[in-house]
Every structure is written in structure tokens, then in C-alpha cells.
């Protein structure tokens, strides 16, 4: 079976990896109801981590669960890993440095 990532809400610009995904792999994107498409991944995405499903501009909202989970601190292109190196909390300035 193809490796998978879940886009929880159709509005989300991120999907959560349901497997450890390798660089360059083509994965299946799924919703709560089933498969919704395919995409290729540019960076390794560990299980439980997020991948960008569209190109995201610097300062743009990062969406998961259909909600804002933070803001992009740099441009993120489709297929890249989305985590503390390119996202900051919108609630706690500097929250990405939380230990």
C-alpha cells in the first residue's frame, strides 16, 4: 500500500503523515472519508509530522483541523516538512523555542 498522509479538513494546507515518508516518495492524501489524491514529498516526513499540501507564503496561516495552528516564518513549498523550523505560534510569540 502507498504511504499516506491525512488532510483532516478540506481547508487545511497541511496533512499529517500516517507513515514515515522518505524524500521523493509519492504518497496518497486521505480525508476522513477516504483517499482524495496523490502528491510527491520533497523532504522526509516522520510519522505524525506535517507536510505542506500547497505552496505557503511567508506569514500565511498554517491550517490543520480547519483551524490556524500557527504562521509560516518563511515560504514553504508543497511537499516540504512543516514544523518548528518554519512555523511559529500565533498565540505565544517565540513559542517555537519552547523547550
Amino acid at each position: 500500500m502507498k504511504k499516506r498522509a491525512m488532510r483532516i479538513s478540506p481547508d487545511d494546507n497541511t496533512a499529517t503523515a500516517l507513515n514515515d515518508i522518505e524524500v521523493g516518495e509519492s504518497i496518497s492524501l486521505i480525508s476522513k472519508a477516504g483517499p482524495v489524491g496523490e502528491m510527491s514529498v520533497k523532504q522526509a516526513i516522520p510519522f505524525g509530522h506535517k507536510v505542506a499540501v500547497v505552496d505557503i507564503k511567508k506569514g500565511e496561516k498554517i491550517l490543520k483541523y480547519g483551524e490556524v495552528i500557527g504562521l509560516a516564518t518563511q515560504p514553504i513549498s508543497k511537499g516540504e516538512h512543516v514544523h518548528i523550523h518554519n512555523v511559529a505560534s500565533a498565540l505565544l510569540p517565540g513559542g517555537k523555542e519552547a523547550k
Binding site: T16, H49, E67
Partner: protein, 399 residues
């Protein structure tokens, strides 16, 4: 849709038909346990509340213990103790009597002694169990159901499998006119506005903010600030990037319904729909408040922090045998565990494995919950009679 339940005199509907023997304070625990153990069909409510507490905690103890006795899963209640407890047995029984179900208060003070009280306890319990055994389940609308939820051992799988499934179960029950209660005030700290925007009005949002601020002030009074530590190093390693993401993953178990109201611990909701109740993340404590608020069935979302073959959950819900607990497992089973998929009620790990969708597991979970509400025993109910003491939610010191 309907389930089969027991109609109570106050119009509520039980999914179980227990006679409870409630200890008024910790001094009465052995008496309550002895009576319940001697009468088939009676279950004890044993706990740690001492008489050396301040007014607010004693009032909350009254609300919890009387609320458990008034819960629809209870056919009749005996409250027992020495008589000098705070709250005393008679006061707890008076509150339970407002639900119009059979209730008796027994105390050594004012009696002819211990043996007389115990004999009366055995006799009363047998009589109540006999009466309860003649009641029949009848069909009722799902609007008579109230679910509670707690998640634990959470990891990256929780937000996308078990919590997502519970969220859909909540949404479906509420669409049928039912009620769902969630809690864990500490989980809301730092993300209050994410929950407050789901409130039906400004007053509900304001009450939520006040309740969360009150909890944060209690924590700060100890010299600690838990905000700066979120998300934890372990959360980040697991893929959680910000505190918003962590909180939203936890809120996923509440579904998408609007927040109808905010309840004090052990307070009954005045209407139907989704409610938040003040409480901590300790299940052994939270379930007392849930039962008192009217929850008939408790859902526990077990994440990946524990092996999916670990089945000993007494510390989580074993303190309250009148409140059945459904366990939903998010963590994929290892090959060694695959023959043991009978430990828990609902396995949602198939979402992670790609064998089922969230919608499919939610369908299955909703059907299973209706079956359990109609009398099917939970895995935990069949496991053993081992019990933990219920811990009552307190905010003041022991004197």
C-alpha cells in the same frame, strides 16, 4: 434512533440498573464495601474525602456524592457512615431523594451501634436490589443519553484517530438531541480563544475564560507557569509544532458542535448539547464529576503512550462501577498484540493502518455505544471486581 434503558422517577433513563452503597466519608468505606460485596447487584462508592476540609471542598463533595446517587444508572442508593462526616449521610441522602428514587441514610451515631447499622444495610440493599431486578429495559430516544470523555496516553495518533472518532460520535449524539460533556481545564490554558469562539454567546465564552484563568491562577500560586513548557520536547519530536496544534488535537474529541454552556465540577447541565465542565486531567477524579453531572457512559481515548495490550485500567475508571467506561484505542497494535484485540471496546488504529476511514470507525463506534447503552457489557465491566478509591476534586488544603 433508540436505545434500551431503565426509566427513573425523575424522567431520566439509566443504561445500568445498580444499587449503590455510598460511603459518606472515608470512615464509612469499609461499611459500604462490606454491604455491597455481600449483596449481588449492589456496588460501592468508596472515596478519600475526609472530614478535615474547608467549606468549598465539603460542598463539592456533597454535589459529587449526591450527584452519583442521583445518576440515572442508579436504581436505588444507600448512604452510610459514622454520622459525623462532612457532608453527613443524611444530608447526602436528602439531596438524592430529590431524584425521587429509593434512598436510605444509615449512620452509627443515633443508632444502637455498628451491628444494627450493618444489618439494616444488608436488608435495605437486598430490598432495593430485589425492586431493581423487576425493572425492564424499554426503548428511549438517544436524546436521553449523556456521554463524557477523557483522553490519555496521547500521541500523534490521538488527534487523527481516537479523538476524531469521538468527535464524530459527539456530533452524531448531539444531532439526535443528546448531551456530551468534556473537561480537563488545564488543557485549555493558552488556547482558551480557540474553544471560546465555539460558545453560543458571550456569556458562555466569558465563563469559560474565567474558569481557565482560575485554574491557571491556582497553578501560578505554587510558583509554576505551565504555559512556557508547551508543547513539550516530546510533543515536538512527535510532530506537534505549536500549543494551538496540541490544544486543537485535544479539542478534536469534542467534535464541531457549538459550546452550549460551562459547568462547575459535578454541576448538571440545564439543556442538551455540548458542555464544558471544570475538572482536572486525572480520570479517577474526573469521573466522579461526570457521573454527578449526569453522564451515563464515559469514553476513554487511549493514545499511543501505552501499549495496546495493556488492559489494566483500574486507576482510570475503577473507582466508579456504576459508570461504564468505553475504551477507544488509537495506537496501532504490534504483531504480538494482534491476537489480543479483545482487550478494549473499539479499535481505531485501523485509521492509521489505512484499513478503515474515520467515518467508518465512527459508524462502528456509534453502534457499539448504543449497544453498550442498551446493556452490552464493556470490556472493563467483564474484567474483574478490582476497585480503586474515587478521588474527589478539591481545591483547598486538608486541615
Amino acid at each position: 434512533m433508540e436505545f434500551l434503558g431503565y426509566e427513573r422517577p425523575d424522567g431520566s433513563v439509566g443504561i445500568r440498573n445498580h444499587v449503590v452503597v455510598i460511603s459518606a466519608g472515608r470512615c464509612g468505606n469499609e461499611m459500604a464495601a462490606t454491604i455491597a460485596d455481600s449483596v449481588q447487584g449492589a456496588v460501592p462508592v468508596l472515596h478519600t474525602h475526609p472530614c478535615v476540609r474547608l467549606k468549598e471542598d465539603n460542598e463539592r463533595a456533597l454535589r459529587i456524592l449526591a450527584g452519583i446517587g442521583s445518576n440515572a444508572n442508579v436504581a436505588g442508593a444507600i448512604v452510610i457512615g459514622v454520622g459525623c462526616e462532612n457532608p453527613p449521610p443524611a444530608q447526602i441522602a436528602e439531596e438524592i431523594a430529590k431524584s425521587k428514587k429509593p434512598v436510605a441514610a444509615l449512620a452509627i451515631m443515633g443508632s444502637n451501634g455498628f451491628q444494627e447499622v450493618m444489618d439494616k444495610g444488608f436488608e435495605t440493599a437486598r430490598h432495593m436490589v430485589s425492586q431493581a431486578s423487576q425493572m425492564q429495559r424499554k426503548p428511549f430516544a438517544l436524546s436521553h443519553l449523556t456521554l463524557g470523555v477523557k483522553c490519555g496516553a496521547s500521541n500523534a495518533t490521538s488527534g487523527i484517530s481516537g479523538n476524531a472518532v469521538t468527535g464524530q460520535v459527539f456530533d452524531r449524539l448531539i444531532a439526535e438531541g443528546g448531551t456530551a460533556i468534556f473537561s480537563e481545564t488545564t488543557e485549555v490554558i493558552g488556547a482558551t480563544h480557540l474553544l471560546a469562539k465555539r460558545a453560543i454567546n458571550k456569556e458562555v465564552a466569558r465563563r469559560l475564560e474565567e474558569m481557565v484563568e482560575r485554574m491557571e491562577a491556582r497553578i501560578k500560586a505554587t510558583g509554576e507557569d505551565i504555559r512556557g513548557s508547551q508543547p513539550t520536547r516530546g510533543n515536538i519530536a512527535g510532530g506537534l509544532t505549536t500549543i494551538e496544534e496540541k490544544s486543537l488535537g485535544a479539542f478534536a474529541k469534542t467534535g464541531t458542535s457549538p459550546l452550549q454552556g460551562v459547568l462547575e465540577h459535578a454541576e448538571k447541565p440545564q439543556g442538551k448539547g455540548l458542555y464544558f465542565m471544570d475538572g482536572t486531567a486525572m480520570t479517577g477524579e474526573l469521573i466522579g464529576g461526570e457521573a454527578a453531572a449526569g453522564v451515563q457512559l464515559h469514553i476513554y481515548n487511549l493514545g499511543g503512550g501505552l501499549t495496546s495490550s495493556f488492559r489494566c485500567l483500574p486507576g482510570w475508571a475503577g473507582g466508579l462501577p456504576m459508570l461504564p467506561e468505553v475504551v477507544i484505542v488509537s495506537n496501532p497494535s504490534r504483531p504480538r498484540d494482534s491476537q489480543e484485540r479483545e482487550c478494549f471496546d473499539i479499535y481505531a488504529d485501523t485509521i492509521i493502518d489505512g484499513k478503515e476511514t474515520v467515518d467508518q470507525v465512527a459508524d462502528r463506534a456509534f453502534q457499539e455505544i448504543i449497544a453498550i447503552a442498551s446493556g452490552k457489557l464493556t470490556k472493563q465491566e467483564m474484567r474483574s471486581s478490582y476497585r480503586e478509591l474515587l478521588v474527589l476534586y478539591t481545591t483547598g488544603p486538608i486541615l
